[in-house]
């Protein structure tokens, strides 16, 4: 009897709950979608760099923090918003140059794991530098994004979340166009396919790397603004990279649309799990559930949903 009530609790009651309160369920799904896009924003930075250079850039989280810190720091100095944005982009570009000149250039042809480790060193470097220049205190970030809540048909929506989702969508669209239709985008894809072949046809590897790290820096800035507006800009921003990893493996390391779809699946999945199943086991299951979900997908597609097929030869 107990066993049956257990089965009921786990396999029946949550679904009954979803169906009987459709408006709340819709809210949960919408919250998941909006959060998922926020995760995608962070994951995108990883994908760009992995795609173009095969580097799993652990420093992406630190870059998010650093970009946001630079923006807020400039604004606190009295620089107008637009100029501060441009300034932050410029700083991220300089960072990209420095990374290429002092790190990547010396590590060409090394194992993936060595490059990965080097980006971890970079993480420390950027974190320490950012905090040294701008301080460790939490800074309020307000660039005038509205954040009023309103109800549509009983569903509570927040202007800020919608704005964040919208800019995420725009960013992805722009990146997709950039990758597919511009000259440099095509060059990027060529480099991703085969470094040597790309170099052989005259594509400058170094320029490509600087470009892609700059773009990743820009994506980091956007992610930093969206997350930082919520919590204030502070050290913890660099930890959201951990929320982006399951998105990344689920979507595949090399796919821009994968980052988006992965973000949506993880976002919606973890919210539903936390709200409908979380209370059964004491809650706070979001973090590991996201990874478990990604793991299940991986068991069926080891390269992620949209990743390039891994072909193994002996």
């Amino acid at each position: 009897m107990e066993f049956i009530s257990f089965l009921n609790l786990v396999f029946v009651a949550p679904f009954v709950d979803m169906v009987s309160f459709p408006i709340f369920f819709a809210e949960v799904v919408i919250a998941g979608v909006l959060t998922g896009i926020m995760y995608s924003l962070v994951a995108l930075g990883f994908v760009l760099i992995f795609k173009a250079s095969g580097v799993f850039n652990f420093a992406q989280g630190a870059m998010v923090l650093f970009a946001a810190l630079t923006l807020v720091g400039l604004m606190e100095l009295g620089v107008p918003v637009l100029a501060a944005l441009l300034g932050a982009v410029a700083v991220m570009t300089v960072l990209a140059f420095a990374v290429e000149r002092f790190m990547l250039r010396h590590l060409i042809n090394q194992d993936d794991i060595i490059l990965f480790m080097a980006t971890i060193g970079l993480t420390f470097l950027i974190q320490g530098f950012g905090e040294m220049v701008w301080g460790s205190n939490v800074k309020a970030l307000d660039i005038g994004i509205p954040s009023e809540s309103f109800e549509v048909g009983g569903i509570l929506l927040n202007e800020f979340d919608l704005f964040a989702a919208g800019s995420g969508a725009v960013l992805v669209a722009v990146l997709a166009v950039f990758f597919h239709y511009t000259r440099i985008g095509r060059a990027l894809r060529a480099v991703a396919d085969d470094h040597q072949a790309a170099m052989a046809v005259g594509i400058p590897l170094k320029t490509i790397w600087v470009t892609v790290w700059s773009v990743a820096g820009f994506v980091g800035l956007v992610a930093g603004i969206m997350w930082g507006a919520k919590s204030g800009v502070q050290f913890s921003l660099s930890l959201i990279a951990l929320k982006a990893l399951p998105v990344l493996i689920l979507g595949g390391f090399t796919s821009v649309p994968g980052a988006i779809v992965g973000g949506l699946i993880i976002g919606v999945g973890e919210k539903i799990a936390e709200i409908y199943w979380g209370p059964l086991v004491g809650g706070a299951i979001e973090n590991w559930f996201a990874y478990m979900l990604a793991l299940v997908f991986l068991l069926f597609r080891p390269q992620g949903l949209f990743g390039e097929r891994i072909i193994e030869r002996v």
């Binding site: 939490v138 919590s231 502070q234």
Partner: protein, 438 residues
């Protein structure tokens, strides 16, 4: 290239071992206070005002009075990043500094406090964990070396319930009310749960526990659950970024902010400022005034900053956590002063300071002398009771500053104290400690 590198490394190693052996000599007549601080890392926004508060109060005592009855205060900061393992390193580094070693230690981290509790008795360095750490340590018979006055997490949670009862119009009105506890999923956050559960049984309110994992950047699911359950009151035990996000999310679901109460670690300036206008009306517990117009503040401005208000403000002067640390530093200094009454005006050992803590009796008159009348309350510690079960205040954020909006709210000691004694007894049994008799 390689050879040079290896030689350089060898040189560095030799250099290290050579220098380790020399410890700097300390002058006589100095009382040493170790300071475990976190000015960097994820919790720096809270750590900075805390570190500044200690530094300023000790400096003020030195500059104004020439130390504690002529014994100069020395102190040294050690950066922990709020990380327990670095805390161990810092503790080992600082515990034997000064002519008499560390007088007492304020870990300002629940994790590090837990770590140091077993060590305190062995190293004979008392721990003053003011309003944090292990609540069971309030039982002085088992935890001889640990002090957590003026009040603890459990007392605070019970006082919160009493406050809710007052607002609702009586204890009997609690029945059927819904209260949610949103907590940091760690030893710190979980502290209040047993008390809230015990009181739920006693008063018949419905308790929902909602855990948020570190760091707490993303809490949409938690607040959706609150939006759905519509609890009458929400109690928050957050820390770091979790507070800022919680306040922001509560505003986003249009939860009535005046029914949203943080514990005393969820009510600093840094917690509400990033949330902007949405934070208006948010409440939190505290045990001292948020104002900065007391005698002690004037003294700090005069003797530490030479009257430079702008500079003081840049150093967190007058922020909630800064004020709290002033209270803590005052406790530490007064405990040493109490002990000096017995042992004479000289640098004291940890064991002697422990006596001072146990016989700590801060009167209203003494508070007045210190320029803290109305800033905090008198405290009297005893051998059995290291907590004193002090009352709390509720403060509210009006969009620009914190204001006290309640009288002192007493904890429900008849429920809390037996729980403390039970938990302490369990700890004693597990660790082969024989409680002393008081």
């Amino acid at each position: 290239m390689l050879r040079n590198l290896v030689l350089a490394m060898l040189g560095a190693v030799v250099g290290v071992t050579g220098v380790v052996a020399t410890t700097p000599a300390q002058a006589e007549g100095e009382q040493f206070f170790p300071m475990l601080v976190y000015r960097t890392g994820a919790y720096a926004p809270s750590g900075i005002p805390i570190a500044n508060g200690f530094r300023d109060y000790y400096t003020m005592i030195n500059n104004r009075d020439g130390g504690i009855n002529g014994v100069t205060i020395t102190f040294e900061e050690c950066e922990t990043e709020y990380n327990t393992k670095l805390g161990v390193e810092c503790y080992e580094k600082l515990k034997n500094k000064g002519p008499t070693g560390a007088s007492l230690i304020n870990p300002f981290s629940t994790g590090i406090t837990y770590q140091l509790i077993p060590k305190a008795a062995v190293d004979e360095i008392p721990i003053l964990s003011m309003g944090y750490g292990r609540t069971a340590a309030a039982d002085g018979r088992v935890f001889e070396w640990v002090f957590n006055f003026p009040t603890t997490y459990w007392s605070q949670a019970s006082a919160f319930i009493r406050y809710v009862a007052q607002q609702e119009g009586g204890v009997d009105k609690l029945k059927g009310k819904k209260i949610a506890h949103v907590y940091h999923n760690s030893a710190y956050g979980k502290e209040a749960n047993p008390t809230l559960e015990a009181l739920a049984e006693k008063y018949g309110y419905e308790l929902t526990l909602l855990a948020v994992d570190h760091p707490g950047q993303e809490q949409k699911a938690t607040w959706l659950q609150i939006r759905r359950a519509k609890p009458d009151w929400v109690f928050l035990s957050g820390w770091g970024v979790m507070n800022q996000v919680a306040v922001k999310e509560a505003a986003a679901i249009k939860y009535p902010m005046d029914h949203f109460v943080g514990n005393w670690w969820s009510g600093s300036d840094a917690d509400v400022i990033p949330a902007g206008a949405g934070a208006k009306g948010y409440k939190s517990a505290t045990f001292h005034s948020p104002k900065s117009d007391f005698g002690v503040h004037a003294d700090i401005l005069k003797h530490v900053y030479g009257g430079d208000v702008a500079k003081a403000k840049r150093n967190s002067f007058g922020e909630v956590l800064y004020n709290r640390t002033i209270v803590n530093a005052m406790f530490a200094v007064e405990a040493v002063r109490t002990a000096q009454g017995k042992y004479g005006n000289r640098p004291l050992t940890g064991a002697e300071v422990r006596w001072g803590l146990e016989n700590f009796d801060l009167t209203e008159a003494r508070l007045k002398e210190l320029g803290m009348e109305g800033f905090t309350r008198p405290v009297k510690v005893s051998c059995a009771d290291h907590e004193t079960g002090g009352p709390i205040l509720i403060q509210q954020w009006d969009g620009a500053k914190w204001n006290i909006v309640s009288d002192w709210v007493q904890p429900i000691s008849e429920v809390v104290r037996p729980m403390i004694e039970k938990a302490a007894a369990a700890y004693a049994a597990e660790n082969n400690i024989t409680p002393r008799s008081c």
